[in-house]
């Protein structure tokens, strides 16, 4: 998470699992298997179909907002 956000977002384990509990309960993510690595349990999760649809819709909404902001900035360069 930290790497993906370029160091801007750091998620502690307590916060991470609070969010994960909620996402699993809402069926947005789902367990995708587990394995034992070096004596430790690793459990994997993936986006569900519902989660994929929600994420796609949210990404499109944000892209539309960003596109509109860029379009307006380009139309009035003095504001940039």
């Amino acid at each position: 998470m930290e790497r993906l956000s370029g160091g801007r977002l750091r998620l502690r384990a307590g916060t991470l699992y609070a969010a994960l509990d909620r996402l699993v309960a809402e069926e947005i993510v789902e367990p995708a298997g587990e394995e034992v690595v070096g004596g430790r349990l690793r459990r994997y999760y993936r986006l569900s179909g519902k989660g994929r649809a929600l994420l796609g819709a949210e990404a499109e909404r944000r892209a539309a907002v960003s596109g509109e902001a860029l379009r307006r900035l380009a139309a009035r360069p003095g504001l940039a």
Partner: protein
């Protein structure tokens, strides 16, 4: 076991046992995988995060302590309280009937009839279904019970038989409200202790009501609930 692992395990004890059994090893692996190579103990931020989330999970207020989490935590105990109230009203409704001109706080007004017993039965059934199906149909069954409560009074007025007391109906609707208002993600673990507390609270409420009833029927005391209300005194 390293010092770091021991420290993380101690912090994870803040979580309830049922949660540790489901997620304990998984969270521990995540913590150890994310630890710095020379890290000897948890950072303050990690410790605070685990304690806050663990405590929130233990008291059942949901992962973020929001109102939604509180509603979720309160839904089952409140519903059990409603079930106890409805059960007592169903069993004692006939015996505690307050007819026209009768002084005292009956659970049913007017002549004996089917409306109030059916309503109380619907509530008992809703609570039994909720517990038996582990909250799977909670919202639907409670919505039906609340709908039955809303139409029970006008229906009873229409047929003139067995009108349930307004304060009982209002209490049942209030007990069911968190189940309808809480978001779906709060449907999680049914813990017996809070549900027991909800049932005992309802019994305490009824005991208080019974003391008030005795006082009212004896003529010397005043009922504790709804004193002076036409619904309480009998129409």
């Amino acid at each position: 076991m390293s010092d770091l692992e021991s420290a993380y395990r101690r912090l994870l004890r803040v979580y309830p046992r049922w949660y540790r059994e489901q997620r304990g090893e998984e969270i521990l692996s995540t913590l150890l995988d994310a630890a710095r190579p020379a890290q000897r103990r948890p950072s303050a931020g990690e410790a605070v995060g685990l304690v806050v989330h663990g405590a929130a999970t233990r008291v059942g207020v949901g992962p973020d302590g929001s109102l939604a989490g509180v509603l979720g935590a309160g839904a089952s105990p409140m519903l059990v309280a409603g079930g106890v109230l409805a059960s007592v009203a169903l069993v004692l409704g006939g015996a505690a009937q307050g007819g026209p001109g009768v002084r005292g706080p009956g659970l049913v007004e007017g002549a004996a009839g089917p409306v109030a017993p059916v309503l109380y039965g619907v509530w008992v059934l809703a609570v039994v279904l909720d517990v038996a199906t582990r909250q799977r149909y909670q919202r639907s069954v409670v919505a039906l019970a609340v709908l039955a409560s809303v139409i029970a009074l006008p229906v009873a007025d229409l047929v003139g038989l067995g009108r349930p007391r307004l304060f009982v109906v209002a209490a049942l609707v209030a007990f069911g409200a968190p189940s309808l208002l809480r978001p779906a993600w709060t449907l999680s673990h049914q813990r017996p202790a809070p549900m027991l507390v909800g049932g005992l609270a309802a019994l305490a409420m009824l005991a208080s009501w019974a003391r008030g009833a005795r006082g009212a029927s004896g003529g010397g005391g005043r009922p504790r609930w709804g004193s002076g209300s036409r619904f309480y005194q009998g129409v």
